[in-house]
Symmetry: C2
Subunit: 413 residues, 2 copies
Amino acid sequence: MRQSKVFPKTKKEAPKEAESINHKLLVRAGYIDQLMAGSWTLLPLGWRVITKINQIIREEMNAIGGQEMLMPLLHPREIWGETGRWGSSKDSPLGAKEIMYQFKDIRGREFALSFTHEEIVMDLLRKNIKSYADLPLAVYHFSTKFRNEPRARSGILRAREFMMKDLYSAHTNEKDLMEFYNKAKGAYSKIFTRLGFDFKITEASGGVFTTNRTHEFQVLAKTGEDTIFYCDQCDWGQNKEIFNGKASGKCPKCKKGKITEAKAIEVGNIFPLGTWYAERMRVYYTDKAGMKKPVWFGSYGIGPTRVLGALVEVSHDKKGIIWNPVVSPFDVHLIELPGGDAKEIYEELTEAGVEVLWDDREAGAGEKFADADLIGIPVRLVVSDKSGDKIEWKRRASEKVELLSLGEVIKRR
Amino acid sequence: MRQSKVFPKTKKEAPKEAESINHKLLVRAGYIDQLMAGSWTLLPLGWRVITKINQIIREEMNAIGGQEMLMPLLHPREIWGETGRWGSSKDSPLGAKEIMYQFKDIRGREFALSFTHEEIVMDLLRKNIKSYADLPLAVYHFSTKFRNEPRARSGILRAREFMMKDLYSAHTNEKDLMEFYNKAKGAYSKIFTRLGFDFKITEASGGVFTTNRTHEFQVLAKTGEDTIFYCDQCDWGQNKEIFNGKASGKCPKCKKGKITEAKAIEVGNIFPLGTWYAERMRVYYTDKAGMKKPVWFGSYGIGPTRVLGALVEVSHDKKGIIWNPVVSPFDVHLIELPGGDAKEIYEELTEAGVEVLWDDREAGAGEKFADADLIGIPVRLVVSDKSGDKIEWKRRASEKVELLSLGEVIKRR
């Protein structure tokens, strides 16, 4: 794509109110734009990154048998009333009135905006599941969630309207649920590994649902809001709420490692919810003996827009963002300087399947290099009167410049 | 995909309240599920069709320079107040209070749900456009729209929550707007042609925005809610609201053809909105002479979920849906009967890039054929003790059965 056409242009200054790194860099580089506190437009560059994040998630959800679909965002009060989540948390352990957007329309009907989708998918299941032969199943969607956070902050990390991939699984028994739960845990690990995160899986409380632990996926980040504890030698980890030891103590699992305290950003969580929902919402299946039994249920969430913010928090320098190639909006940033002719190179790279952002603007080298560093595409190519019939090739994260032929550039992609 | 895993199973009966064909067939075949009146879950099969519809739209939007992004769904009252659309239609020509979902949150802030996005994109433009050099531009998104229709009806054709692709273009002058407007009209024609629709482009009123006409894309359908008039020989067409002649009269454009009256389903519309929005929302650019001028603006909408319903209304028979191959959830429906072994065929077809729904269920031939006709995949393959080393090949819309080798099946796809 020609950079002269990209909407919008980069900005010299970050918004005054911006405190977090992702807020400053994503806005300056033209990835996101704030409509109001906690509400963001994903601009064309940001949308390209989200599309790639989502595709990685989709591939791993499909690999464990997830079926993609799309559920509504406007929900009737009645369904949320069935589990007590319509109410206040003062009255019900799960009440969400304080941060759920709830309203009455001009015809007097009461609605909530999609705070999450457990109740909605349960309603779908009870209409469509009859017998054990209909189970197990796993469905998921990418959709919008609304949470009226008292204070929206940290750029796109804690928004009031955000994107969520939520998968839900239904089973005939606990063993089958837990087998799938472990598969989902593996799929999540693959996703965050593919995204290039240094992450830990931490145990969290099962709440009212289960005496089992749930799990959070936490990206290590100095700027993270969460505090976690993990073993420096095995896979043991706990979040702050349930941790009951002391940092630098001995790992309770392997008895060898040391417990390390760290700041982190939560990017995913998985819940073996058991039969709590099925019992309250009457979601039953008939077993082989003809008995009605409640469905075993799990839910599994990842926030792609939060992932976008976390990627920037952990991979940037003073000049701008440094994208992992798997989610970069383009593969290479091709910069045309006086004396260089980029058009043919642009066309041949595109032909070879390389996604190119071509800086075709009439601007000085300094401005172009600064914008390239800000936007953060992992490879920068320069053609100028100095490069001759070669191309200057440089990684965003390195200072080393090499002169390569077009064929070599295509190979290295 | 194995049919035994598809969620949910097909249904023998349509819902009692279902009146329209798309409602009955899409629910029975497992494409959509109703959460409440006017609100639908796109089930896995339905989501596959929507993904294909959206990809066709996306390709044509990109081809005219559209940049994909994603805007928020929850909008602050203040922005809608700037154009008067927050108010009632009794007080303002564009007031939408009657069908816009509006509410106040527990902190006293007032919001609307995304009724459309003109005001929101205008706010984005005024923050990011400075000079003529930033124009023209075209941005679009696929997102959710909410309209509190007094009566949701016709299945997925008139929902209260639905999907919309809306593109917005901004220009320095009317000539440039109208040139792009005609390009968009061409792109829309390509989209509806690719989708296999028999459609007409009809003129509609420009409303308060412009003395120019706007245009609607109308799919000819006996079950359509709209009435249109078109020339049987040239491209002249008008909707009912502006038509001022009589059916069977002479065409006012070519003076040769006859005016035909027909029922139709509106699937798209395009509006050259002029400077009406820019003037009210103060969206200005600086021209070459340094003068501030209002931006010329157009908007262009297609409803993918409505397209889904319209496709079923115009292509079905008594047994079920008949998909156009370009949007079918799968390319072929492979049916395994006693004596036939479909596993290897399934794998080889998948390997060859053919999308296969494999009916691996333990069910009789009658039930399998009935489900295949209901689901509507354009090609049915059968392997049984009768087919030997060949495969029975049959189009959904034809009764003719041929015996083909696997290689021939792959070629015909």
